[in-house]
Symmetry: none
Subunit: 214 residues, 4 copies
DNA sequence: TCATAAGCGAGACGGTACGTCGTGTCTTACG
DNA sequence: CGTAAGACACGACGTACCGTCTCGCTTATGA
């Protein structure tokens, strides 16, 4: 769906992409209009369609553009410092991109490139930040050797995005830090629980039907 | 934007709403068309617009319809049993509604009724299931008295929805159970950490700019 | 290229067609815009495209509509009276349609329906008017029995259209009448010349080339 | 709108003009595309627009180029010979230009230069050929002194163009010669009719309305 | 001899119109 | 009266062409 940038006009491309992102934030994917975007930068529709074959491709490119920076790396000397730094970065990114992401989650189901952009441009960054921090912490003996890093890295983005996208609330810095101190760090230090309780899992509950059929 | 059901035709309404949900799952909010819905049930557009004033109202109603059942309540006698039962219910609901939710997250930003439906019909159910379970567990002394219930209940839905909507993966039952056993239960039992480390939080990291401007 | 008229809205169709004809007269085929037409009658493009598949089809229909009346028939009792009446009718029609025709002559080359409309709706009317007049005149003995009717009927429209379309002048009534009196009537009365001069036709002249190649 | 030939590249100009004429014949004015023309001669749009300021100017120039040769003059010694020679020339020109003319009649209404080109490059040639022939014939006493030359010269082009452009038929040489022998020559020899019949012209017929309103 | 200029191809660009499609309103005819 | 059918005004989409423009490349001349 993406298109090799034209020879000239790199500046024009950036302008189009950042403007697209602005409009996206303001109005959401559905209400975004190509005409609105081009009129803001005094361009013409052809200039857009010469680069991207459709509205959705334009929007995807704008998102890719927005998340295409080098993954952050923090080495503050302590696990807590690293995680707090990563959390601050996450919160900044969400502030910038939460509205845009909301408009793209549906599109992502049908657009492999967008899915890749989200994964590689955003999620992998979170994973790498956390993975690096945990690796250094393990060498320093700060955490249990069997800590489940693959689960741990997801906790912060999952909860932050849940709050932004599902609950519709922003997440203040202190909340994010509490999340690190009261959830991530304790779990990392404790490692996996000694043994999963032997009680067999209960039978699956009866499936619900959509309408309150009773 | 809300529903004014006509006297007759309750069955017709259900048919329209469930069909709307089907189309929504298949094609997403943006690509859903009223004509597609009505042609599937051999109805006419007027029949839809007599009941709901817009496409978004129809879709909201379909979602409300889908989540409008009594909140589940599980009392299995143990916290773990309750949480696992709640997790199974959550996983079932996600299986049924993940695609639909993806299509509505953007619309929710502009549609208060949809936001309410999501909150009351879906999230509050999760909260109540967990809150009840934790309350009983505290009475039984199974968990620390200062366990942060408001944070704890969010962990399961946040991580499950993160996996479904962000990572694009479904969550198998065993994974859900591991989440209960290795994250929720340990945190509940431990309660809040003795004291937040006294180290002052690091200064906020420099904000990133969108393009790799270096 | 034509389309069965929709059930309702015959009035709307007429309105669209006459407005199309107006715009056509004012601006010519090339500069005519669907948006201009629909905005004049407060219609929408879809209303046009529901009936006619393209701009050219609309314009053709407007022309067909404009020439779709019963062929005139004049029986004034004398050949001269009949021809003058036919001439007046021709001049009226040209006044009404000359600008339109100018815009359609090119399109006619590619549009069989338009060609048919021009032939049957306009030219055949001329032929029939003249043919009837000459037939009655021959019975009355007013003209030579061997008068070449197939050539005679063409003279009036050919010269009038030549003046309108090629020379860009309108033809006043007196000029038209002079044409009848000084060209058509004399030729009709004289019949074919006694014998074609026996001189063999000269050899065809050398073909010219486009550029003044000398 | 007129031509300002660049210093070099006369050959290029000819190439462009003749190619334009070709495309014009094939597709008509409206469908002619600058891109089509330049791609056929491996030129670029700038090369066209450096010479002619618009599509219509290019097309006009192509037509002017096509009709810009010295007016023919035939002096065969007899009126009939002159007229037949002129007719052959006319038929040749129509063969070459009928399609092009069809595409330009509409444009001519709005383009004074094109109107001039048609008049001076094509029509005046016909007029001069005929006028010369008739002048010599009058001196020789071959025609009536009061023959209406201004009307006579138009008959041949009017009828030939009528056949080509309105009826959509080509005109074979014999038909053209018949036209000379049976129409033009008899009228020229007879001169104006002795007296216009005294019958007053009939009242103008009722104007027709566009739709068959009865 | 080489530099300065000019025409050239290529094609991006701002516009404008096209023809299509979906929304939400409305009318018509049927049961 | 509710409904199926579908016409309608509106407005966005994605395409095509016009006329302008900038870019290098080539060529052709003049210092």
């Amino acid at each position: 769906m993406s298109v090799a940038p034209l020879r000239g006009g790199q500046a024009r491309m950036d302008e189009l992409l950042t403007t697209t992102l602005d409009v996206l934030k303001e109005t959401g994917y559905e209400r975004l209009t190509i005409d609105e975007v081009v009129s803001r930068v005094h361009a013409s529709k052809a200039t857009v369609y010469r680069r991207w074959p459709s509205k959705s491709a334009l929007v995807v490119a704008a998102f890719v553009h927005a998340v295409s920076h080098l993954p952050a790396e923090y080495d503050t000397g302590s696990l807590r410092g690293d995680l707090l730094a990563g959390m601050d970065d996450l919160l900044n990114e969400m502030e910038r991109l939460a509205d845009v992401m909301a408009g793209l989650i549906d599109e992502k189901r049908r657009n492999e490139e967008l899915a890749t952009a989200l994964r590689e441009g955003f999620l992998d960054t979170r994973r790498q930040v956390a993975a690096g921090a945990f690796a250094r912490a393990r060498e320093r003996g700060e955490i249990a050797p069997d800590a489940d890093v693959e689960m741990l890295w997801q906790i912060a983005p999952a909860l932050v995005m849940f709050r932004w996208l599902m609950m519709g609330e922003s997440v203040p810095r202190e909340e994010g830090h509490r999340l690190v101190d009261e959830v991530v760090l304790p779990l990392a230090r404790a490692g996996r629980p000694v043994s999963a309780p032997a009680t067999p899992p209960p039978p699956p509950p009866p499936r619900r039907r959509a309408p309150p059929s009773s």
